[in-house]
Symmetry: C2
Subunit: 353 residues, 2 copies
């Protein structure tokens, strides 16, 4: 397949017609016939001429007929050409930008910001939104804090990696006073802040050993509580996090072959893994990525396209976000939306100003 070079062998007229066809199809969803295109393209060409052109386009693999007497439909390769060379992206109107900005106001905390980015993407594109939060290779403990709740219950607050805040409640043997907890917090922060969590955990075990010898009540409490605090929760799932929203938007996309296929897409664990892999690809190739239909390599995403963009703050890539929808989507709208959402999310997460 001498793939991309083909487009250069095509005349301007062919490309123009091809573009009109793709646009028409994206709008309509029905295969486009020569007659329709003749009127639609406003080029003063008769259907017969257009039939000839379309036959050529089919030969180079940009179009496809579902059957002899249907119109033509773009292939994945066709979409590729369209997206790469023909598409003119619409600038977002200011009200849309304003909406995105409003939703991603930097006041909110990390996790709710990410949640909102996802639901906003799905909302404004009417497709499924997805955000990946890769597990950082290492987790730097920034701050640990204990707050007394009712008797025997202590709230542990961990600040990890500068952004992420984790809470959990632990049950203790005795009831600690606020000042005791204060001391314990101080001690642990002094000892462990700025270090990697796995290291911290190892150190804690060592400390516990030492404690056995010279008994220091308060410090022993501290270490024991730290152990409990770090016990299960913190690094428990090593897998990356994936966050979907707006799955129901895909329900009225007819071409995705009935509801149950798409139901599977979001329910089976394996499918999620596929999507995760795709997004991991996207995070490595920097900048906006568009995966069209089968070319993604995952047949779960057969008739789907995925438009992604990494988001970054403080010059560091934090994750990937994007949308999943039918290959026949409004790329001209979707692309700038994904783009700007990534930028705004990044800005909101940024230390900034």
């Amino acid at each position: 397949m001498a793939s991309t070079t083909d487009s250069s062998q095509l005349s301007d007229r062919s490309l123009q017609l091809f573009k009109a066809l793709v646009e028409h199809f994206i709008e309509d969803g029905t295969p486009v016939g020569s007659r329709t295109l003749s009127k639609d393209s406003n080029m003063g060409l008769s259907p017969a001429t257009i039939r000839n052109v379309m036959a050529d386009l089919e030969d180079v693999g940009l179009l496809h007929s579902p059957h002899t007497s249907a119109g033509r439909v773009p292939t994945a390769k066709g979409y590729r050409l369209f997206v790469d060379s023909l598409l003119r992206v619409n600038a977002l109107n200011s009200s849309q930008v304003a909406k995105i900005a409003r939703e991603l106001a930097p006041e909110s905390d990390y996790s709710s910001l990410i949640l909102r980015a996802s639901s906003m993407l799905s909302d404004v594109t009417q497709l499924a939104g997805v955000v990946m939060l890769p597990r950082p290779k290492q987790s730097i403990l920034q701050h640990i804090e204990f707050v007394a709740l009712s008797s025997n219950r202590v709230l542990v607050i961990l600040v990890v990696n500068d952004r992420e805040v984790q809470n959990r409640i632990i049950n203790t043997d005795k009831t600690y006073s606020t000042s005791e907890l204060q001391k314990i917090s101080n001690y642990l922060n002094e000892l462990f802040a700025g270090r990697d969590l796995t290291q911290v955990r190892k150190s804690i075990l060592e400390e516990l050993e030492k404690m056995k010898e010279k008994v220091n009540q308060s410090m022993q409490s501290a270490i024991e509580m730290a152990q409990q605090a770090l016990d299960s929760d913190v690094t428990k799932d090593k897998s990356d996090d994936l966050l979907f929203s707006g799955q129901t938007n895909l329900m009225d996309v007819a071409e995705l072959g009935a509801a149950d296929k798409l139901k599977k897409l979001f329910e089976s664990f394996n499918q999620k893994r596929d999507i995760l892999h795709l997004l991991e690809q996207a995070i490595n190739a920097d900048g906006m990525q568009i995966f069209i239909g089968e070319e993604s390599g995952y047949d779960v995403l057969d008739k789907c396209s995925v438009v992604t963009s990494p988001y970054e703050a403080d010059g560091q890539i934090l994750g990937v976000l994007g949308v999943i929808g039918p290959t026949r989507m409004h790329y001209d709208r979707v692309i700038p939306i994904v783009d700007i959402t990534a930028k705004m999310l990044g800005a909101a997460l940024n230390s900034k100003n």
Copy 2:
């Protein structure tokens, strides 16, 4: 309509047949005919006899024929009788109980616990799970804490109402040291801990006035940061929170009249309000509640039933959880699942031991 009294006027035999019919229909989803029921009920009655009985049941409004030559289907009133008087609830097998217990292990923090309860409900019932978290009438500030992030950025952690932890990041004019923040935290906790947030906010404004006069640098910082911290986020949405999961489960429930109706159910704001109202009803009438079809009064929930149970911890009702599914659901399985989930969620949220 002399509604519930009717059931007493029916013979045992009628009720037994009715029960068999409902059970069959719940299993099958197809209208049940006299011939089928004759074999199914094992009562040695001919189809003709059963036809007579079914005609009676239809007269009192428990059954309904979709058309002349279809079998019978229970009405909402029929389900009501079935659920109230005829249903024998299955005890959960231990593996199911274990699964629920595992998911709701009390180690996790508040919000993730609630999230899990919802997704677990949908998972194990194969219906849509829903959890309501009513906004408490008042928010008692339990603890406020500041953690320095990078320069000019401070993480604020608020513990409210004994369970709820809120994080947000604020940008400050100057860079605070850890010990400064420590002091500020201490000061604010001393001043405001245990008080209602709206009160706190009022007090802060008053304090700011006072500050204008006698300038006390550190304390002024404290008050200003507190103001920023409480500014928008904390009580911003006064509405109750509603949490859905497993909506896609409802997609293969054929009788709910196509996908788009149910798509609406979860996407339109208005529909959510309806569900919210329903759940608010459920929280007032204590104990398990079952709303069947149209009797809920909300026609969004036309062919749906909602099974709910409030969950409580420390003797206080915290919210309502439950499932939404077709009227034709396995009440015998769903009811105990909702029941035990509510109990276990309560237990996990409890101060406990």
